[in-house]
Symmetry: C2
Subunit: 302 residues, 2 copies
């Protein structure tokens, strides 16, 4: 099944305790698309400026990523600059230059309209619904959002969530969206807003999923070297949804495997700046690391 | 196999967002002993004052807990008072009255000397070694410690660790003991100090174990109601070691099951103040919750 993703395509300038990367490829749709494309064909919707050339597009070429929906506008590409704390658990935004992204009005190419799976990346919830309205009959709609929208456009976020089956957000966002500190209570409140499944990304502490058939939890892989966490959440979403779409299944067992595959992809993402590790990745490496998660978490019954 | 535990037996006065408990039973050896006694006989070594009477001892009566090693001294029982933050993830100590615990000189009754398993709870590392010297030929020695000793008596902590097979500490303590932020690096450094296995307790984020045969990670059970986290780490240790001793096994598979059993016991501990939930617990409830961990974490292979 093909996946339509809408989100940002950006330049990132990132400082972490292990180094600095200047104007490298970033953006939620970029990480998502490359991760998902290992499993399913991706239809990318986004916008870049005139400074985004063939060198940057090379990351998407030679993969199952359709770029017809990547619009090029007059102006500069979205640029985000941030700095991570020593423990990589928090980051400060130094600057956000929206540039052409400020005027982003997603247009869905005709041949994207029959996409079976839609991922509404973290953009204005009003735009998320406009994208959805342009897709014929998606079988599955998943969505991300962030505190900026949860606080800035709460009613619009709620409206979008009514049309979403799976919401993927981090633990802090789950708390703010629901007004509940406890994640079990937060999940109940959020699932009552629309999404049948809530996937809570907790970074180095793994992932919690709350669904129709109960909860699923998986730890993150303990990594010795974390270079740059940027994009790990979007890479998780890409691995999760790309793998799920490739199975054609929708039940609890398929969702659980998808969470582990998302975690697998995210564990590669953080090993290098930008999409560098994802771009050299092979399917055998991915499958071997999925099996590392099996070894990491298995235990015998009573 | 019988387990000798040395640690504190105390009164706790605890404030959490859900209430307050005044001068209730606490102490590392108390939580450990009750949790472990569901699986294996426990030999308790500790000290209380004249204010610790039959009402308090009732918590240990009727269980497989030998109290000959619980000394009663002139003076008052150790009293700790603390207050938890709203999110229960941090706590402030309001007061620590060591009382008789300040003069604690563990004496091991003759019939404890053939204990096969020893748990050195969080006390002065010099005392931990004195206890160990009084046990004949323990098959397994496990140990806890805390930042107070890691910073205050680093050489003594190192000396004790040389005699320990399993160290159970929290993530912050693992970082401070090793001087490494990254837990994979921290585990390597700590295992080089002596313990073949390191069990890192991460509270609501679960447990990580690093051993001869690789790593094991398990999440904590997502709980809707957490009343009081006090004693959860010691309860984990009690469930872990009590269950492990009951199996008579020592390999990786047994350790993994023991981690899950420890997590199971800890998940009950936090549901009420003091040892209240542990004291009403039944083995069928324990086994049912172990199976909840199975359901929570299982996923299919690729």
């Amino acid at each position: 099944m093909s996946i339509l993703v809408v989100g940002s395509v950006a330049y990132d300038t990132v400082e972490t305790p292990l180094g600095r990367a200047e104007r490298v490829l970033g953006g939620s749709a970029s990480f998502f698309a490359v991760a998902a494309s290992f499993f399913s064909p991706v239809n990318l919707v986004g916008v870049v400026g005139q400074d985004f050339g063939e060198a940057q597009l090379a990351a998407f070429r030679g993969r199952s990523i359709d770029l017809e929906g990547l619009e090029r506008m007059d102006g500069k590409t979205f640029h985000w600059q941030g700095r991570y704390s020593l423990d990589l658990n928090s980051r400060d935004t130094i600057s956000t230059d929206l540039n052409v992204f400020e005027f982003f009005e997603p247009k869905i190419p005709a041949r994207y309209r029959d996409s079976e799976v839609v991922f509404l990346g973290n953009i204005d919830p009003v735009l998320q619904r406009r994208v959805l309205a342009q897709v014929d009959r998606p079988r599955l709609v998943a969505c991300d959002t962030m505190n900026f929208w949860i606080h800035g456009k709460p009613a619009e976020v709620r409206e979008t969530l009514k049309k979403v089956q799976i919401l993927l957000i981090n633990d802090q966002e789950a708390r703010e969206l629901s007004g509940e500190w406890n994640l079990v209570k937060a999940a109940r409140a959020i699932r009552a807003m629309g999404p049948g499944a809530l996937v809570v990304k907790k970074g180095e502490h793994g992932v919690l999923m709350f669904g129709e058939e109960g909860s699923f939890a998986t730890p993150a892989l303990p990594l010795e070297l974390v270079v740059d966490p940027t994009g790990a959440g979007d890479t998780f979403a890409g691995g999760f949804l790309g793998f799920l779409a490739s199975t054609g299944q929708e039940g609890d067992a398929a969702l659980r495997r998808a969470v582990v595959m998302g975690s697998t992809m995210a564990s590669f993402c953080v090993e290098a700046f930008s999409l560098d590790r994802l771009l050299t990745l092979t399917r055998p490496e991915i499958d071997a690391r999925y099996r590392e998660f099996e070894r990491l978490t298995r235990f015998e019954k009573l």
